[in-house]
């Protein structure tokens, strides 16, 4: 392992992380809910029947999320580039796997990785270690073993 020092951005990473943590804490304190993006998206895809009380805050949260780039631009926060390393057929495969996996596994980086771990959930720890390990393994396969992407 070699650390990519030029790519390492500790200041912005920590600042962004604190904002994410604050948002998750604020949602728990005001609504008593977990800020899990896959759960919020996935629940909205399911019929509104019986869950109408939860529909409102989920949509409001998503509107905030979607407006974040515009608000950041207005606040003169520079938007980072979006640099993908694979062509769109791979992005479609990746999207399908992320959509399937986060619903089957009941959470993603936000629900398990931030909120679940913050609550000391054993399930979230197991989930986070699993998706981290498979993420690392997949990148090793693509970047080093197969060299599919540049």
């Amino acid at each position: 392992m070699t650390i990519d020092w030029p790519a390492f951005t500790p200041g912005s990473a920590l600042t962004g992380g604190l904002l994410i943590g604050f948002a998750a804490a604020f949602l728990a304190l005001t609504l008593g809910r977990v800020a899990g993006i896959s759960g919020i998206l996935g629940s909205l895809l399911v019929s509104a029947r019986g869950a109408s009380a939860d529909r409102g805050w989920r949509i409001a949260f998503l509107v905030g999320l979607v407006l974040a780039p515009a608000v950041a631009t207005l606040a003169a926060v520079p938007l980072p580039p979006v640099q993908t390393l694979v062509d769109w057929p791979w992005l479609v495969l990746a999207g399908l796997l992320v959509g399937l996996g986060t619903r089957i596994g009941s959470g993603c980086t936000s629900g398990h990785g931030v909120c679940g771990l913050a609550r000391g959930s054993l399930r979230s720890l197991a989930a986070t270690l699993t998706f981290m390990a498979f993420g690392v393994g997949t990148v090793w396969l693509f970047e080093h073993a197969l060299r599919v992407s540049p």
Binding site: M1, A7, P10, A13, L14, G16, L19, I20, F22, A24, A28, L29, T30, G32, A35, I37, L41, G56, A60, F61, V63, G64, L65, A68, P69, V71, A72, P80, V82, T84, V86, W88, L91, A94, L97, V98, G99, G101, T102, R103, I104, G105, S106, G107, T109, S110, V114, C115, L117, A118, R123, A126, A127, T130, F134, G135, V136, T138, V139, W140
Partner: protein, 153 residues
């Protein structure tokens, strides 16, 4: 009031993802590339988020009620099972291929990235398929739980 709070949370969450550059797949792949040139940034993002979120969750769970006086609706603590690990493994593979997880993908698509938009459409399709699979495979009671259960984060 609840909608305003949720909107602000989404907004701050999204700005946090932008500031930390987690909306850039190259940063995420750099973190997962432990066996190559490793960019540890994401570890600090998670670490910073965890410290603040832990205080928030500790406080609200001790209070037992939200600041607005409502009861908490946090996911119940359940044992680790094969579904959790299998789903997380699939998610990890997709995360490693694309460098997007759900939150950053939505924010990147909102910043008008066409690649992110393609990913989000496929991800929503995957979520929809997962829900269909759950309602087909499970018993009627289990299907309801899989679709919108309290354990879903």
């Amino acid at each position: 009031m609840r909608a305003v709070a949720a909107f602000l949370c989404g907004l701050i969450f999204g700005v946090g993802l932008l500031v930390s550059q987690m909306t850039n797949p190259m940063k995420v792949i750099g973190f997962l590339d432990v066996f190559g040139r490793w960019d540890p940034s994401l570890a600090l993002v998670m670490g910073g988020a965890l410290v603040v979120a832990s205080i928030g969750f500790w406080w609200v769970e001790r209070r037992g009620r939200t600041m607005l006086g409502d009861e908490l609706a946090l996911p119940p603590r359940r044992p680790v099972d094969a579904r959790l690990l299998g789903g997380s493994a699939l998610f990890g593979i997709g995360w490693g291929i694309g460098g997007f997880c759900p939150g950053p993908a939505v924010v990147a698509a909102s910043a008008l990235s066409f690649d992110a938009a393609i990913f989000v459409v496929a991800m929503l399709a995957g979520m929809w398929i997962a829900t269909r699979l759950a309602s087909r495979l499970a018993t009627p009671a289990g299907a309801g739980q899989a679709a919108a259960g309290p354990g879903a984060q």
